[in-house]
């Protein structure tokens, strides 16, 4: 590999890498194994687990390469701008993914349920098929799929969880200011607090799921309410998990002495992601829990 000084004015173009191929094989095994398992072929689960493990190896190895290159000073300002654009557009794409599920929620509540309840020109079918169905929310539909359930209230644990997640964005912002001041111990403390709040959020979310399944008979199969409730909160929870892992890795890197006041894009990318997940939660709390 050439010396770092060669690259100061030159955009760093990495040499060949095996990691993308490892990642492709990992995705192939993960997807193919999962599909086999769903078709009832027992070996599929193992293939799928092998795929996930391969992906983990890929993520670890690939990021190790990137971190080493960054620490070696191979990245100039232009490379950093690439990472900024890429992370920004990646988060935008994640937003569109959540948009599909929010869209499903809005469509069901605004149109599908009222038509099933017999409203308007399109209500005729609903009236003929299910004359007794009244358009209300929450609902598991005319056939009450999954049986009677109680909807998740907003002002108990979910409100507390909202406060926890909003607080975590605040602690993260303090950490961000601290890294700009080059106050490493302060960054580490506040970032650790952020990760801890994220983990607490996940625990409470898990507790809420247990509560929903055991006490409220609210399951993934509880019609359109259960579907939108669990898919929106579930994908959000997955993103919190991912965000917490990202921030935890950054925390370890900070403890190891990586990053500085003027070179900490990894921190910022993780922070962007965390704030994004936070904003999604505000949407989830308003549209899934409160309204």
């Amino acid at each position: 590999m050439a010396h770092a000084s060669d690259y100061k004015n030159v955009y760093y173009v990495p040499h060949g890498s095996y990691w993308p191929m490892v990642g492709s094989v990992g995705l192939f095994l993960l997807a193919g194994g999962f599909a086999m398992a769903l078709n009832g072929h027992g070996v599929g689960s193992w293939v799928s687990i092998a795929g996930a493990a391969t992906l983990l190896v890929m993520v670890f190895g690939w990021f190790r390469d990137v971190i080493n290159e960054s620490v070696a000073g191979l990245y100039n300002a232009q490379v950093e701008r690439t990472y900024r654009w890429a992370m920004g557009w990646f988060i935008f794409s994640e937003g569109m993914f959540f948009g599909a599920f929010f869209g499903a929620l809005f469509y069901a509540r605004t149109f599908a349920i009222s038509w099933l309840g017999g409203e308007g020109e399109k209500g005729l079918t609903g009236n003929l098929l299910w004359p007794d169905f009244a358009a209300t929310w929450p609902t598991a539909g005319p056939l009450e799929l999954g049986g009677e359930f109680i909807a998740m209230g907003a002002w108990g644990l979910p409100a507390i969880n909202t406060a926890i997640l909003l607080t975590s964005s605040w602690t993260l912002t303090i950490a961000h200011h601290a890294i700009k001041e080059d106050n490493r111990q302060k960054v580490i403390n506040w970032l650790a607090a952020t990760v801890a709040l994220g983990v607490i959020f996940l625990f409470i979310q898990g507790y809420e799921y247990v509560h929903a399944y055991q006490d409220l008979n609210l399951t993934l199969e509880s019609g359109i309410y259960g579907s939108t409730f669990f898919m929106l909160t579930g994908f959000h929870g997955l993103h919190v998990t991912l965000g917490a892992i990202i921030l935890a890795v950054i925390l370890i890197r900070l403890i190891k002495g990586h990053m500085s006041a003027d070179n900490h894009f990894a921190f910022e990318a993780g922070a962007w992601y965390w704030h994004f997940v936070d904003v999604v939660w505000v949407g989830v709390f308003i549209f899934v829990y409160i309204l």
């Binding site: 955009y11 060949g16 599908a112 199969e221």
Partner: protein, 529 residues
């Protein structure tokens, strides 16, 4: 556009050639290698998907069931569409983008070279998953590429493979698109302002934005199908308060921008080729950019014109009808500008120009039948008929595919360093053009006369036109072997040496570097004035 090539000489240790052996193609981070891989993959998929189309046309040569079972026929229509869209046309455009964008904007490579590699190498695995369903109990997916529930939920073992392979294709597309946006916004040579960018670059900037915006929506839609099938959710089940039509809304919110993803880069290619062979600058370049941006914006608010017949509220139908018709305005601007570029120019008719002219005329036919389909009461008649098949094949085959071929003929000498045989190229063009019209033009008539699509059998009165279409399809398929031969000849460096300019009227940074383009171009950026 002038620039100084001085900085290109002194390179450091980084300026090395390709790695030896086959591992070069596995580990490569070079945009030209990856462009080549994308283009070869696309060509292979073009033949795979094409042979499925020939199965369809062979069955339809005469009424009654003659060759294949109806289930298999439906598997062929579904797989043909998925392969041609996600395996042939999209990777071809990404391949062209890989080859050309860094050279056109004076960048050393794509912004994220390793991500670029991953974006490509996911595809062969994704299509392995998809194609493997042909050999499963129950066969391949057979519901059409639009995957409407509730029927698609009855798919056999193929179902999870279908959904998960689409997820992989989506991951690949999103990574590719993010890479392209980062490349265009961050890697331009100093002096190349946004409005100085070549139109192919502009078309890809807009396309990449569309991809990032809608591929995740497709992922959401198929995820809902997936959980409805395996985990008991009720997104598309009226019994549970969901709605099958909801799927159509989400799917087409992706699907309509998707069809512009399949055509905008074609607009970019044509906007390079017509000026080159007219030997004058493109008429109205700025308006071309605004027109593409307008088309991209409109693509988000017209989706329900694919589903007028589901019985949507009248106000919605009217809105989507008028919004759809509005697209004719920016599209008309583009056609007008191409024609105005040709007006009183010193035109010559080399193969790329022939394909570009074919594109302008035949894409317009497809655009006009699209306008007919936009009219709600008329669409009630046309919906799910062969008229729709004629429409979208006119925009996709003599539209997108012609543009890809025009682009390949135009830049192939730059890639390989040798000229292809102009005689063979012209033969390929004329045979392709004659057969493509023989295949798809009669479909307008049988569609208007009432023949439904996606059905292996038909009423006797449609026979003649169907036979014409089948003969055309076989001719079209065989003609593409000429293209394969031309490409293989060029890749094996057989032919006259191409000059650096390649064409008399070619413009742009990619024609300032030698032919064939060296493995690394613009390691230090050229100065653009």
């Amino acid at each position: 556009m002038a620039y100084s090539a001085t900085a290109d000489e002194h390179h450091d240790a980084h300026h090395d050639g390709p790695a030896p052996g086959l591992m070069r193609w596995v580990t490569t981070t070079n945009h030209k290698d990856l462009g080549t891989l994308y283009l070869w993959f696309s060509l292979i998929m073009f033949f795979v998907g094409g042979s499925m189309a020939l199965v369809i046309r062979a069955e339809l040569f005469q009424p009654g069931l003659s060759l294949v079972q109806p289930e298999f026929f439906n598997q062929m229509t579904t797989m043909h569409a998925l392969i041609m869209i996600f395996g042939a046309v999209m990777p071809a455009f990404v391949g062209l983008a890989n080859w050309l964008l860094p050279m056109m904007i004076g960048a050393p490579d794509m912004a994220l070279p390793r991500v670029n590699n991953w974006g490509f190498w996911i595809l062969p695995f994704a299509f392995t998953l998809l194609l493997s369903t042909l050999f499963m109990p129950g066969g391949a997916p057979a519901l059409g590429w639009t995957m409407y529930p509730p029927l698609v939920l009855q798919t056999g073992e193929a179902f999870p493979f279908l959904i998960l392979s689409i997820h992989l294709m989506g991951i690949s597309s999103i990574m590719g698109a993010i890479n392209i946006v980062a490349t265009i916004l961050n890697m331009r040579a100093p002096g190349m302002t946004l409005m100085k960018m070549p139109l192919f670059v502009w078309s890809w900037l807009i396309t990449a934005y569309l991809l990032i915006a809608v591929m995740p929506v497709l992922a959401g839609a198929v995820t809902m199908l997936f959980t409805d099938k395996f985990f008991g959710t009720a997104f598309f089940s009226a019994a549970g308060g969901g709605d099958p039509v909801l799927f159509q809304h989400i799917f087409w919110f992706f699907g309509h921008p998707e069809v512009y993803i399949l055509i905008l880069p074609a607009f970019g290619i044509i906007s390079h080729i017509i000026p080159a062979f007219c030997r004058k600058p493109l008429f109205g370049k700025a308006s071309m950019v605004y027109a593409m941006a307008a088309i991209a914006f409109l693509s988000f608010i017209v989706w329900a014109h694919h589903m007028f017949t589901v019985g949507m509220p009248l106000a919605a139908a009217l809105f989507f009808m008028f919004a759809t018709m509005l697209i004719a305005v920016p599209t008309g601007v583009k056609i007008f500008n191409w024609l105005a570029t040709m007006w009183r120019s010193a035109m010559t008719f080399e193969t790329p120009m022939l394909f570009a002219l074919g594109f302008v005329f035949m894409f317009t036919i497809g655009g006009l039948s699209g306008l007919m389909l936009a009219i709600v009461p008329a669409d009630f008649q046309y919906h799910d008929s062969y008229f729709v098949v004629a429409h979208f094949h006119y925009v996709l085959v003599p539209g997108s595919v012609f543009a890809i071929m025009a682009g390949v003929y135009y830049w192939l000498p730059k890639w390989t360093g040798v000229m292809y045989s102009e005689v063979l190229g012209k033969l390929h063009f004329w045979l392709t053009t004659i057969f493509v019209n023989l295949t798809f033009f009669p479909m307008h008539f049988i569609g208007l006369a009432g023949m439904p699509r996606r059905i292996p059998d038909y009423a006797l009165q449609f026979t003649t036109f169907n036979q014409m279409a089948t003969v055309g399809a076989i001719g079209f398929g065989l003609s593409q072997l000429i293209f394969l031969y031309i490409v293989i000849r060029s890749v094996s460096r057989a032919g006259e040496k191409a000059s650096d300019r390649v064409w008399e009227g070619s413009e742009g940074l990619e024609f300032e570097v030698p032919s064939p383009a060296p493995y690394h171009t613009f390691t230090t950026p050229p100065a653009v004035r």
